[in-house]
């Protein structure tokens, strides 16, 4: 026992202390790396808003077709033209949709770039050209033009 207390050179202890410290640092780095990789790779699926974009496009098409039908009805009793009424309904739809999407952090813009109405009884009916764009900070989507054919 006395020999241990007298022995104050301490090379071995210092060396092994250094080795243990370096090994601990290495292990902690490895553990952090693993956590970060797991987080990022599984976040990918949550981050890409495929359902939001698909929902936006399909609801815009549906709303456009409703708007065209309403426009045809109103046109029979007022002197506004069908393209004007349709454009104003879709603008109002775009305003409400942008506000709703903005409340959970995404910017959306829907606008009409062209409408052709078809007076003859052909298979097509009216055709509306929409510009849809979506941005949530990570993903930017735009469909210009989105062509919607409505048969009245």
């Amino acid at each position: 026992m006395a020999r241990i207390i007298e022995n104050d050179q301490g090379q071995w202890i210092l060396l092994s202390g250094l080795v243990v410290a370096i090994a601990l640092v290495f292990l902690v780095t490895l553990m952090n790396n693993a956590t970060v990789t797991g987080y990022h790779s599984s976040n990918n699926a949550l981050e890409f808003p495929k359902d939001d974009i698909r929902d936006l496009v399909s609801q815009s098409r549906d709303a456009t077709s409703q708007a065209v039908h309403i426009a045809h009805q109103i046109n029979q009793s007022s002197n506004q033209t069908i393209p004007d009424i349709t454009t104003s309904i879709i603008e109002d739809f775009s305003r409400q949709t942008s506000l709703l999407y903005a409340s959970h952090g995404q910017t959306v813009a829907i606008s009409v770039s062209n409408i052709t109405t078809n007076n003859s009884t052909s298979a097509f009916g009216d055709i509306v050209w929409l510009n849809i764009s979506y941005n949530d900070g990570n993903t930017f989507y735009s469909s210009e033009p989105e062509i919607v054919e409505v048969s009245v």
């Binding site: 599984s42 699926a45 698909r54």
Partner: protein
């Protein structure tokens, strides 16, 4: 100080023991992290991707001259396999996801293992060699695989090892047959006034669902009696099921009486008959106008039922 240059024996023993424990720890701890992170997320995403492609994508085929989404008719040049219905085939848009088509599902069940594994990506690429994952794809209703025409929709093995299994469940509307809705005033009886006849031109794939509403009842306890197909009486609960909707609660199991504003639903399970069949539905205290049998295929639509798609993948 001992100057012979030897180390005390039990110093060696103690140091050796310590070094053994230390090196073991160094080697064990990284193993904990590696196997839990990289492999698991890889397989989890294969399961997610497979479930997404099957339930949302109608599939695609492409040979050098033409392309389209009806890969079930062009199997040799198919590039993607998906089960979703393509609602407007001439455009290449699929806005309605989660509607699964019976033709594509039946074709999927008939594919061989190689095609399924390659086209759906259920393998791991290690140095150029494909290592197959174990998988199990099924569409269930109430926990059991759904019966489509004549096949149960389940493919793949059952996992017996104690490896981690990754599963994803998606909700879908599965096309299980055809459906026609009749007003009781526009179907006719050919003979006895309380029996109506419907003729079916050719064998139908899947269930046949017939809805009849707006009955002409002759007494307050009208009821449904039986169905015969080409003269043979069908067996209730093995060949068909009957439901009645008598309020806004939806369809419930049939119980008499039938009021004139109720809707009766007959679900006839898939059966094979020759070129045409004649279905005779007999009631009690219900009358039909005399006339020829109406044709089932003239106004049939696809019939969808809620089901859960379960995809399980393991290494």
């Amino acid at each position: 100080m001992d100057d012979r240059g030897q180390v005390a024996f039990d110093f060696l023993l103690g140091m050796g023991l310590f070094l053994v424990a230390f090196i073991f720890t160094m080697q064990f701890v990284p193993g904990l992290f590696i196997s839990d992170s990289t492999d698991e997320t890889g397989i989890a995403f294969t399961a997610y991707r497979t479930a997404t492609v099957l339930s949302e994508d109608p599939g695609w085929w492409d040979d050098s001259t033409k392309k389209g989404t009806d890969w079930e008719d062009h199997l040799s040049s198919s590039t993607r396999i998906g089960l979703a219905v393509d609602t407007i085939p001439k455009t290449r848009l699929t806005d309605t996801i989660n509607l699964l088509s019976m033709d594509k599902s039946l074709k999927f069940m008939q594919l061989d293992e190689d095609t399924v594994v390659t086209k759906l990506g259920l393998y791991d690429n290690i140095n150029g060699k494909h290592i197959r994952y174990g998988y199990n794809i099924s569409i269930n209703q109430d926990g059991n695989p759904i019966l489509l025409n004549d096949t149960l929709f389940v493919r793949g093995e059952v996992n017996t090892d104690s490896v981690d299994v990754f599963k994803i469940e998606r909700l879908a509307l599965m096309e299980t047959g055809t459906f026609v809705e009749y007003d009781a005033h526009s179907i006719y009886s050919n003979g006895t006034a309380d029996t109506t006849e419907i003729s079916i031109n050719g064998s139908q794939k899947g269930k046949m669902v017939i809805d009849i509403s707006n009955f002409t009842t002759t007494s307050p306890n009208s009821s449904f009696e039986n169905i015969s197909m080409d003269g043979t009486l069908l067996n209730v609960s093995t060949d068909y099921v009957v439901y009645l909707k008598n309020s806004s609660n939806g369809f419930e199991n049939y119980s008499s009486p039938i009021m004139s504003n109720n809707t009766l639903r007959l679900e006839i399970y898939p059966m094979v008959f020759g070129n045409s069949g004649l279905v005779e539905i007999e009631f009690d205290n219900v009358t039909f106008v005399a006339g020829p049998a109406v044709e089932y295929t003239a106004s049939k639509e696809p019939f969808y039922e809620l089901a859960q798609m379960m995809v399980k993948v393991w290494k």
